[in-house]
Symmetry: C2
Subunit: 351 residues, 2 copies
């Protein structure tokens, strides 16, 4: 079985298109199937990405209803040509496709969870075209404040592979996944130990579009870093009353002429991300840790991760490394661990 | 001039209607004119409410645009009959009608502010019918997190009158005004010293209607106090990561079968109010104070204030008194202080 941290990782890249790909070498189709989008990757037997497809057919946005075969239609539309050229190629999928609203439910595995636990929780579903999809389960953390993830668990194993040795050594690693529902995940010995969800992205959108705060906002030509950092600093230094209290300042600083309409969106974004990081810091403090001096990794949209890096620096955390291609790496790795990659094909390729 | 705490306060009540009112005794028309509603009160010379009118013609919901005389139309529709029967009666108004989007802007007076400061800040506007409206200004508190209120300042002076002596004695009083934008106001020596705004009500609506949390919620037949208090307790005891983190539990407790769809709205309401009160407690702690053992007053919707009383008790605050009729009392008091009540009419009435 292919080991993490080998040449595979370095070789993975998003190919420009399928046209020139040598599909004779196709060894895996992997789907990152979320709520609003579907991304598909075709790999050769070494884990190189030969081709990618992207569609808006997320599970809440199928071409037709699930009852009318919407999942099959989206799958066929995205991967039909690949399957026609490489019949029998294994298929793996992660994300909301395995939720109760997905194609088939892959019940959560419980944290702490390693890659073996994910593999053991894989649920299969047969597509109309005859292919079998292997659906990776999400992870559930029980407790007074339960937490769930679907899709992120696969990205995390994709990110871990890059420095298998250090993480394998038992050191604790902190990984952030900014976004609609930002996750902060503690990993130890290649195992997802515990994690937290901050609804930062979705709350920002709801505040901007559906509260009084949006009324005075205008869209800036480009991000206003100064306004963003002002928000981060307020949250960090003056945020003890919580975001329900500080959010109103996005409006009142406008009323007092201190923040223009164009600056208000970035200020509010900074406030929310600042409160998220202050909350994370409070959690870390309970574990005799802190963001200051922490070395961590970020997975996600590059521009958003850059905003988080700026904000993290305000908390004394200057070592936040952006991990690229975590999704396609993770899907490949879980498929490998599940034994989905045909050893013969790989041996042939290696030879 | 009528003194606060006299028989006036006890005598004020909302009359059933205008039909039987003896308009010969009309001494004041007062308007509580907000964003989405307009309430009008007609008083006799002793401050008794003779009649009330209520309309949906808030400043964002006028019968026609402001440019086309929308304010005049709403005023005429609500108070025209009263003015016809009692020409020359003085008119006072408080609330968003004095904002930049209102009939005329009454610039904020700065905190600390007493009733004299409000009176000095009154701005007049002449209606098409000939009447002059006296618009009470709002209050602005400058700082890194500026705060503003419009309308609440008048309610606060209405609430103070009830126990003029104790508050006059220099004791600090804490007054809460739950709602869309909840206010917590520190009053000392009949002066608004400082205040805080929590966007609790509006954030609740935005989360429920415009985020994933609403998707699994159903509307309960009646409030679920147990679910509400569960949310309050989580915010108080496990809320250190902040509301951006705890909010997600309204969904995940559903996924784990611990909270039904009908319980989720009250749980989320308890979470948000709990975070508001935890934030307030953190502010008080800076001033060597606390909610525990605090004696405070609440102004606002009775059912909502009752929820706050339940939540406050979780923070050790069992003395939260609901102040009724604060709006109409406050409008009367500011009008009295401004000398708008005709002394002759009052003398005649008193004789």
């Amino acid at each position: 079985m292919k080991q993490a941290g080998s040449s595979t990782s370095a070789a993975i890249h998003a190919a420009a298109g399928a046209a020139d790909a040598n599909l004779a070498h196709a060894a895996l189709i992997a789907l990152d199937w979320g709520t609003t989008s579907l991304r598909a990757y075709l790999y050769d037997a070494s884990g190189n990405v030969l081709a990618t497809r992207e569609s808006t057919a997320g599970i809440m946005n199928l071409p037709r209803s699930a009852e009318q075969g919407g999942f099959d239609a989206a799958f066929e539309d995205t991967c039909g040509a690949w399957l026609a050229d490489a019949p029998g190629v294994p298929v793996i999928a992660a994300g909301m496709v395995g939720s109760a609203q997905g194609w088939v439910e892959a019940p959560y595995v419980e944290a702490p969870a390693n890659a073996d636990a994910l593999v053991a929780g894989i649920v299969r579903v047969k597509a109309a075209c005859g292919a079998t999809l292997h659906i990776v389960p999400g992870v559930l953390q029980r407790g007074e404040l339960p937490n769930v993830m679907r899709g992120e668990e696969t990205q995390i194993f994709g990110a871990l592979g890059r420095d298998a040795n250090s993480v394998d050594g038992g050191t604790q690693a902190l990984i952030g996944l900014p976004g609609t529902h930002a996750k902060w995940v503690v990993v130890k010995s290649r195992r997802i130990e515990r994690f937290h969800t901050f609804m930062t992205g979705e709350v920002f959108a709801a505040l901007r579009e559906h509260t009084i705060l949006g009324r005075t906002m205008t869209t800036p030509d480009r991000p206003d870093t100064e306004a963003f950092l002002r928000g981060v600093t307020i949250a960090r230094e003056k945020g003890r009353a919580g975001v329900l209290a500080t959010a109103f300042s996005a409006r009142t600083l406008g009323l007092t002429g201190e923040l223009s309409g164009r600056q208000q969106p970035d200020y509010l974004s900074g406030l929310l991300i600042g409160h998220e990081l202050a909350g994370l810091d409070a959690i870390l403090a309970q574990q005799q840790s802190a963001l200051a001096g922490q070395s961590l990794r970020l997975i996600g949209n590059e521009a958003l991760c850059e905003r988080y890096r700026l904000a993290l620096a305000q908390f004394g955390c200057t070592q936040a490394e952006l991990v690229k291609h975590a999704t396609e790496r993770g899907l490949w790795r879980v498929a490998s661990q599940a034994g989905l990659i045909n050893p013969a094909a790989r041996a042939a390729h290696a030879g």
